[in-house]
């Protein structure tokens, strides 16, 4: 039967536009930090999970084989799952299923991305995510599809740009307190609204910056946590997981709403035993959320997919401060991709790590205060507006 799985430590690198370290070296930094934090060594590990997005960024075919040693996988079973931008939340889900199955007991999970290797710009690599037969000849780029989706979302609900821009202000501000952050700064709403227009309605400060970085986790079965004598205070338990991929035919879908995120979220909530999927009940059940925010509107889009706000209701709530770190329902206390940076798989890895750090009270200056840290949800998104990955964890002190 399903074994109980806990996350017992995280490791992160600095996120930055250009790291001196190779991808392997970044992976080593975060993996070693996670092992040290857990008080274990590689000898205790019986499985390694590697998460990384396109091979084109690092410039290596079969990237998982290349990253094996840096990720601690030398002479061990190593596996790389892959769901585009959704990977950083999916990798700990893989850690969960490899332990919950009873196959492994102690798993080291590493998410890594080194985007500065591809020159002159990572945008050139993004061209190859489009359909090889009928889209690439048009010369599309990644910002296009965000612009297309953002416009559809705004049009459908009549959302003012100010409401969306407030997410950039909030997240980049929250990132000031994150030790890995590359862009933590207090911006004004006007600065976001008047930043360079890239692909209308998308402006420069609506977007998260490409980055190099790595994030790792140690996950264990309940028996092993006891065996190692790890304190309950240092554990966050996996409560529910879900993942879902929609049809490739993205031009045959209405982009205003991420149905695939809804399905993944409900899968995770049901697994955690939460059958009431109304926004009010879910916001009470969860203490906070870390939805995927590569663009500011995506955080809002995803809050709706996660059923935490009704369709079209998230933007106003964000604008009114409901989702501030000290608001009624804190969202992205980490600073998110918008503020901490976006090394694809590692960026969503950072969101998963934030769940752990908040739930164990280790988030330092970012710690949400004034409430019991019961339960949080992290979510990532990827592919051609297609993937939802959802991880719900609860604090180790909560029985």
């Amino acid at each position: 039967m399903t074994k109980k799985v806990g996350m017992v430590s995280v490791g992160l690198t600095q996120f930055q536009r250009r790291a001196k370290e190779t991808g392997k070296e970044l992976a080593y930094y975060s993996a070693k930090m996670a092992l040290d934090e857990a008080g274990i060594t590689r000898k205790d590990v019986d499985g390694v999970i590697i998460g990384s997005a396109p091979d084109a960024f690092d410039g290596v075919h079969q990237k998982h084989e290349y990253l094996t040693d840096g990720s601690g996988g030398f002479n061990l079973p190593t596996m790389r799952g892959y769901v585009g931008g959704g990977t950083g939340v999916f990798s700990p889900i893989q850690g969960w299923y490899s332990i919950a199955s009873g196959v492994n007991d102690v798993v080291l999970v590493t998410t890594e991305e080194k985007m500065s290797s591809v020159q002159p710009s990572s945008q050139a690599a993004f061209l190859t995510i489009f359909d090889n037969m009928i889209e690439r000849p048009l010369g599309p780029n990644l910002v296009w599809i965000f612009a297309l989706e953002m416009r559809r979302y705004m049009e459908k609900h009549g959302i003012p740009k100010e409401h969306i821009a407030s997410v950039s202000v909030k997240n980049k501000g929250n990132a000031i307190d994150h030790p890995s952050a590359m862009l933590g700064k207090k911006w004004t709403l006007d600065e976001v609204l008047n930043s360079e227009l890239l692909a209308d309605p998308v402006r420069l400060l609506d977007i998260s910056p490409v980055a190099d970085g790595a994030v790792s986790f140690v996950m264990m079965s309940e028996e092993k946590i006891k065996e190692f004598g790890i304190s309950k205070d240092d554990v966050a338990w996996v409560d529910g997981v879900g993942w879902n991929v929609d049809t490739t035919m993205w031009t045959n879908r209405d982009l205003y709403y991420p149905k695939y995120v809804e399905k993944a979220a409900k899968q995770a909530y049901n697994m955690a035993g939460m059958k009431d999927h109304s926004p009010e009940a879910l916001r009470k059940w969860l203490t906070f959320a870390e939805p995927y925010d590569p663009f500011n509107y995506k955080e809002l889009h995803h809050l709706e997919g996660l059923q935490l706000f009704g369709k079209g209701k998230a933007p106003k709530a964000a604008f009114e401060g409901v989702t501030a770190r000290d608001g009624d329902f804190p969202v992205t206390p980490s600073g998110g991709l918008l503020g901490v940076g976006n090394p694809i798989a590692a960026a969503a890895g950072m969101k998963s790590a934030e769940l752990y750090l908040q739930l164990t009270g280790k988030a330092g200056k970012r710690q949400i205060d004034g409430r019991d840290m019961e339960r949080g949800v992290a979510q990532a998104w990827g592919d051609l507006m297609q993937v939802g990955t959802v991880l719900v964890m609860k604090g180790g002190r909560i029985e």
Binding site: T68, Y82, V245
Partner: protein
Amino acid sequence: MEKVAIIGVGVEGFRSAIRELSYKEMVYQAAVKAYDDAQINPREEVDTFISCEEDFNMGTSITDEYAPDQLGAAQRTVHTITGDGIQGMAAAYMQIKTGMFDVAVVEAQSRVSDILTHNQITNFAFDPLYNRQFDAVYHSTAALEKRAYLEYSGTSEEAIAEVAAKNYNNALKNPIAAYGVRAKASDIMNTDMIASPLRDGEISKPVDGAVVIVMASEKVVKEKNGNPIYINGISYATNSPNFDTRDWQYAKYAKLTADRVYKMAGINDPKEEIDVFEIDDTYAFKELQHLESLGVYDKGEAGKAMLNGDLGSKGSTPVNVSGGVLGVGNAHDVNGLQRIAELVDQLRGHAGRRQISDANTGMAFSWRGVPTTAGALAILSKE
């Protein structure tokens, strides 16, 4: 212990080039056959899907975007594994064992005919800082390994040529094999030297094709009452990505994998307890090296067994009755599922002219090819 079984297999290919279908359409054909075999509706009865593919093999970044539709997996639980199909099965096995999923689908595909510069892609897997610059044909790496293995084990070139001849001949009886041919060891020895000591006849040739496997928990197996083949053990391991730190003489990844799988499956003496062997032979010497590293034979004994006739379809330890990767064709990350498809045929008694009598248990081992040191192993049985 809840068991996990294979309840459906679908194969499209293998041929040197499948140009009349797109990659999606090729996978669809394999999927339809697998779902018919398993008697399931993918839109309603499958809980989780896994696609095994690599970006550069497909020519698409984040290639998992294009995985769901042809499997019936749109808006369903699906993810990619960048590994061999048996590793994908291991992921599905773990998911079923959590108790949260009952039916899983695993797919792997090869579209080598869509690639014009295969050597460049393989070269792109080498370390970018200090290995890639030599721009040597990747078979050279296998040649380094073959020479180390010959020295270490004392295996003869004749034994290796006999392996290749056996597998090409076996493939003639396999309808999914692309490269069946009547061959003698002397024919192999007379082929061109590609990278000494590796000859052309010892190197598998690329094919297009796809395999889709349906796996299920015991609960579903009982409901369906089909023709299940059980997975008694499955795992995978990686040795080292670096040329500097890997083992060249024997396949350490095979040993590491076998240690885990034998423990899971309760195997003490694989040679005695297993009836049918499907073992990676991407290069002919690999079949012998893998047999020894997996502990089926002691060091240097696999080659002798080949020369004694023990590895033939009528021998005591039949290896690659399917024709192996040499005979069926090198479908890269599909190679593992090629091996699995053969075992399922054998254990069901559906292998026709290739049928091994009293086949109750089988072993499938895959290797991801140059430059990796990654292997995956599964042990299947009728019970």
